[in-house]
């Protein structure tokens, strides 16, 4: 992940795949209010994805628009982190994923808002406000579940244990990118430590750090997600919708 195209594409793919996963909760959330909140966050991610993919297409200069990038690439061409493509699991897994994603996206978009590229800066300025809400929402749920009942504590800890290893990939150094993700690690760690502490949860000790998403080497899950997302668009080549 180096040039502005790769960087923008990776961020756009993160947001798109996160949106697709979050939208799967629609009609299935534990409370009606939460159905609305998750749809809201999915819409935010989708909105950011559209801006980023559109801009990525312009940077590439090959005539691909947001839909060409979203619907006509195969999984080996997607550049999202593995974290976002993991299945939703139970509500605790979804909240662990969202907490880590938001704790990464907030400092990322904030840094982006001050970068030299005006388009990326504008996208960052818009998206960081949304990320702040995502972080707030997921933090609150992680605390409720971590410090709720015995069962919710057990599930929330299991979710953190399961998802945590996938956070390493987010901070792989990219010194030439508009924002070097490695510089975001400190803020991420501080945010997450505070939330987990209050939630009476612990960070797992593990050296396992699955990665590959930025190079297009994904988990087995992504191909299924794309098969569903792309099926209709691909069934009607060239059609307008």
């Amino acid at each position: 992940m180096n040039g502005p195209f790769d960087f923008t594409l990776a961020l756009g793919d993160d947001a798109l795949i996160a949106a697709q996963r979050l939208a799967e909760w629609t009609t299935r959330a534990p409370e009606m209010e939460e159905d609305i909140a998750l749809a809201n966050i999915a819409l935010d991610q989708l909105g950011a994805a559209r801006l980023l993919l559109t801009y990525a297409g312009e940077l590439e200069g090959a005539g691909r628009d947001e839909d060409a990038l979203a619907f006509l690439r195969d999984d080996r061409e997607f550049r999202n982190c593995l974290l976002v493509e993991l299945p939703n699991g139970d509500f605790a897994v979804t909240m662990a994923k969202l907490l880590f994603l938001a704790a990464y996206q907030l400092p990322l978009y904030t840094a982006l808002a001050g970068c030299a590229d005006e388009r990326l800066a504008a996208i960052g300025a818009k998206a960081r406000k949304e990320s702040a809400y995502h972080l707030d929402h997921s933090s609150l749920w992680v605390k409720r579940l971590g410090d709720g009942t015995e069962e919710s504590h057990r599930r929330m800890q299991a979710a953190v244990d399961q998802v945590w290893p996938y956070t390493a990939e987010l901070f792989a150094p990219a010194p030439d990118a508009p924002v070097d993700p490695a510089t975001l690690r400190g803020q991420f760690d501080a945010t997450v430590a505070a939330v987990l502490g209050e939630a009476t949860l612990t960070r797992p000790e593990t050296g396992w750090a699955p990665a590959g998403g930025r190079d297009g080497v994904h988990t087995e899950h992504l191909s299924y997600l794309l098969a569903e997302m792309q099926v209709l668009h691909r069934a009607h080549p060239g059609a307008r919708w």
């Binding site: 798109l16 697709q20 939208a23 799967e24 629609t26 009609t27 299935r28 959330a29 534990p30 409370e31 009606m32 209010e33 939460e34 159905d35 609305i36 749809a39 809201n40 999915a42 819409l43 989708l46 909105g47 994805a49 559209r50 993919l53 947001e66 839909d67 979203a70 619907f71 139970d90 509500f91 605390k143 409720r144 579940l145 410090d147 709720g148 009942t149 069962e151 919710s152 599930r155 569903e228 997302m229 099926v231 209709l232 668009h233 009607h236 060239g238 059609a239 307008r240 919708w241």
Partner: protein
């Protein structure tokens, strides 16, 4: 989306939205006129209630009301709320496969609006002295119904368009008169809901319009969807007036303002021109203008089928209920955790205050 009542015009949403705005203005005017003072100490409460309704003023939660009026409203508002919540499923079915990112965003926002309508309506029902938990329980146990239309499947993307155009269209025709309902909280809720629904209807119409002017396969998909959704949409207005049980009393209470058949006719008259613009065919060989009635003659939906679906034997009744029950039961541990966490916080707060 729910219903049994109405008014409409040709432009998708346009005439209907005008009706909603007129109702909103009337509501404001009624509030400004002010109601006569409360009932005199020796006045008959029933007479006072009747006087408020007759004067087109609003009954509010604090007012005395006949028990049957309260029950009818609870049933109607709750069924409407349930319909919004169950109605999220058929359209939610296409969020993951929406054919463009723009359509995905619009559909996701629409389904989210429906959840919002559901919550808003449950809150309106709660003003009548029933809790949301009780109402959800009535839905999950099958003792209260939701609109039968949602027991049909969404088989193709065009169904999302057809639901917007026909189902939301029928819902608005049903609901616009409810903006003038005698019960204040319901009337106000319906004004907000109708505004959003008319927006949804336009979106559905636009989906169909794009498909109908797209590739031959897209046009065929659009026609197939209209073929499947037309008669179930007509059935949304309920049984014919000759068989409708609740109508007369509801009319007198100004909970209902037009009969099922009047509303159905308005809906048909509204759709014919729209279908022409779409370039799609309404699947009724006997549809034709009747100069004498200044309305279209049309084939009635199969009411025996409507009754079968209402009684539980539609294509998706079991699926919709199982899905709702699963979401509710799988979320139980989350709701329990939230309650436990809130109780702990409250306890800590109390200890802090005591210290």
């Amino acid at each position: 989306m729910y219903g049994n009542d109405f008014s409409a015009e040709d432009a998708p949403g346009g005439g209907l939205l005008g009706e909603v705005e007129a109702a909103e203005a009337a509501l404001r005017a009624a509030a400004e006129r002010g109601r006569r003072g409360g009932p005199a100490p020796d006045e008959d409460l029933a007479a006072y209630f009747a006087a408020v309704v007759d004067a087109d003023q609003k009954i509010e939660p604090r007012d005395w009301m006949p028990e049957a009026y309260r029950k009818t409203l609870i049933r109607q508002i709750a069924q409407h709320a349930h319909s919004e919540i169950i109605g999220m499923q058929p359209e939610g079915n296409w969020i993951s496969r929406a054919p463009s990112l723009k359509r995905k965003a619009i559909l996701l926002a629409k389904v989210q609006d429906e959840a919002g309508h559901g919550l808003y309506l449950y809150a309106a029902a709660e003003t009548l002295g029933v809790s949301r938990e009780e109402l959800v329980d009535l839905l999950l146990s099958g003792r209260q119904k939701y609109s039968s239309i949602f027991n049909y499947p969404t088989l193709t993307w065009a169904d999302v368009g057809a639901i917007g155009w026909l189902v939301d269209g029928a819902a608005i025709v049903n609901q616009v008169p409810l903006c003038r309902c005698s019960y204040g909280p319901y009337a106000r809720a319906m004004i907000r809901v109708c505004k959003e629904e008319s927006f949804h209807q336009r979106q559905g119409y636009e989906i169909l319009h794009t498909l109908a002017h797209g590739t031959p396969a897209q046009k065929a998909m659009a026609q197939d969807a209209v073929d499947r959704w037309w008669y179930p949409s007509l059935a949304m207005f309920g049984p014919p007036d000759t068989d409708s049980t609740h109508s007369a009393q509801s009319m007198a209470w100004k909970i209902k303002r037009f009969s099922n058949d009047e509303l159905r006719q308005r809906f048909v008259d509204m759709c014919v021109q729209q279908a022409e613009v779409l370039g799609l065919t309404i699947p009724d060989p006997d549809l034709r203008w009747n100069d004498e009635r200044q309305s279209y003659d049309f084939t009635q939906p199969d009411y025996a089928e409507l009754m079968r679906v209402i009684s539980g034997d539609g294509p998706c009744n079991r699926q919709r209920m199982a899905h709702r029950r699963a979401a509710h039961s799988e979320g139980a541990w989350v709701r329990e955790a939230a309650a436990a966490y809130a109780a702990k916080r409250a306890q800590q707060q109390k200890e802090k205050v005591a210290a």
